[in-house]
């Protein structure tokens, strides 16, 4: 974990499933340093994009390359991801974190301490012996964060990590994310909370229907997005039936109430 895997370069990455292009020719680069926030409407492809970056799915064309000195070898070991729909193993809260640490090769002795710290940090200490799968949704999201945090990755992907959290927890998670960033981890996250996006981003990626329409410095983006769809989105007015109609199935869809 001493050698860097960053930067990550996506070269003309496309993803096609069942004849439908879900990610379209994305070209971008993530250098070490800034916090990136990916925003865009539901179904824009944000989660697919994170999974492509993380290496969980392979693009149908183009390629993602970790260009750092350690990037060619084992980039996976230096990354972690908090999924939008966290998956809990059928074991206790603590054991969920423990398993992740074991996979990364931590010795049993040091694991106990890391687990304790991670759970405390995410407010899950009193639940440590609960079976993880009966946790409330928000608690599961916290556990997923604790698990990822315990791994001390170089790059951390977060897919709407606070979507189901209460206001105080959301605030605390934002602080944790900030702390993780300060400790040197590269943050790439998605969120639907534009306030959060403002607070946590150094740069913004705006995705729409599988296309990366804008990739800009955060201040500039929120001041004045260049792309008109991004403008509409930031104003909370992105309504598909008004802007562009590249329906995948190319059928007319003239319902005025259509909300996306």
């Amino acid at each position: 974990m001493t050698e860097a895997i960053l930067p990550l370069a996506l070269e003309n990455v496309s993803l096609e499933i069942g004849g439908v292009r879900l990610i379209k020719d994305i070209q971008c680069r993530f250098e070490a340093g800034p916090r990136s926030v990916v925003i865009g409407p539901n179904g824009a492809g944000k989660s697919l994009f994170l999974r492509l970056c993380h290496g969980l799915i392979a693009p149908t064309s183009g390629a993602g390359r970790w260009q750092g000195p350690a990037g060619a070898a084992q980039p996976g070991a230096a990354q972690a991801m908090v999924f939008q729909r966290p998956v809990m193993l059928r074991r206790s809260v603590a054991a969920n974190v423990d398993y992740a640490l074991k996979l990364k090769g931590h010795a049993r002795a040091e694991r106990a301490e890391i687990i304790d710290e991670a759970l405390a940090r995410c407010g899950l200490r009193r639940l440590r012996d609960q079976p993880a799968r009966v946790l409330s949704f928000g608690e599961q999201q916290k556990l997923a964060l604790a698990r990822a945090w315990a791994l001390r990755p170089q790059v951390l992907f977060l897919d709407e990590p606070t979507a189901s959290l209460d206001p105080a927890a959301t605030h605390a998670v934002e602080e944790i994310v900030q702390a993780i960033h300060d400790a040197g981890t590269r943050i790439i996250m998605t969120t639907h909370d534009l306030g959060q996006a403002r607070r946590l981003s150094d740069e913004v990626l705006f995705l729409h229907r599988g296309r990366l329409l804008e990739h800009a410095e955060a201040g500039a983006f929120f001041e004045n997005p260049k792309n008109d769809l991004a403008q509409a989105f930031v104003r909370g007015e992105l309504l598909w039936w008004r802007y562009g109609r590249d329906n995948r199935r190319a059928e007319a869809d003239p319902t005025a109430e259509d909300l996306d």
Partner: protein, 234 residues
Amino acid sequence: MNDFGDAFWAAFQLVVSLDADLTEIVGLSLQVSLTAVFIAALIGLPLGAAVALFRFPGRMAVVVILNAFMGLPPVVVGLVVYLLLSRAGPFGVLGLLFTPTAMIIAQVILITPIIAALTRQVIEDLWSEYEEQLRSLGAGPARALTALLWDGRFSLVTAVLAGFGRASAEVGAVMIVGGNIDHVSRVMTTAIALEVSKGDLALALGLGLILLVLSTGINGAAFLIKEMALKRHA
């Protein structure tokens, strides 16, 4: 239909009199089937999980063959083991033919595919839920294997019980490789077959009844253990 009444009566008498022959046969049956299930589970669980998790050329063929081998004919398996263990065969020097060991070997061959094929299905279903999370944590198929077997343990019990059912009920293979030799390799099923060929249908049915009660007992024990573990673990 007096035969059914006679069968209960025969079973009852055998059990009550604690027939020494019966005890011996029951003991050997359990020893053979349980050992075979144990070994088959040791092989079949990881094997099935591996087929579920790894992607390799010819994987589909392996899946199909595993499924097809759930239908290995016992007589054929018995025959193959017989030929291998017979004095003229490559392992003849071991002198295993007509011993309980030979019967265990035949049953292992017979039920390993059953356990493996059913395990494959369970683990594949689980993997579709876990895959991305585990891969993200750095667990490739190899390391995910044990985690999935553990997390799927409650469903896998049924797979192992299916294997046990086949082993305890099977007669064709153990008959050929064990020889159904009295006091050496006679088990419940071969004893039943013998009584049938003698025409003593009531005794055969009675023995069958005892066998079923036995295997229900074992299934009940497995169920209780599983329920208790489920309570503790969710």
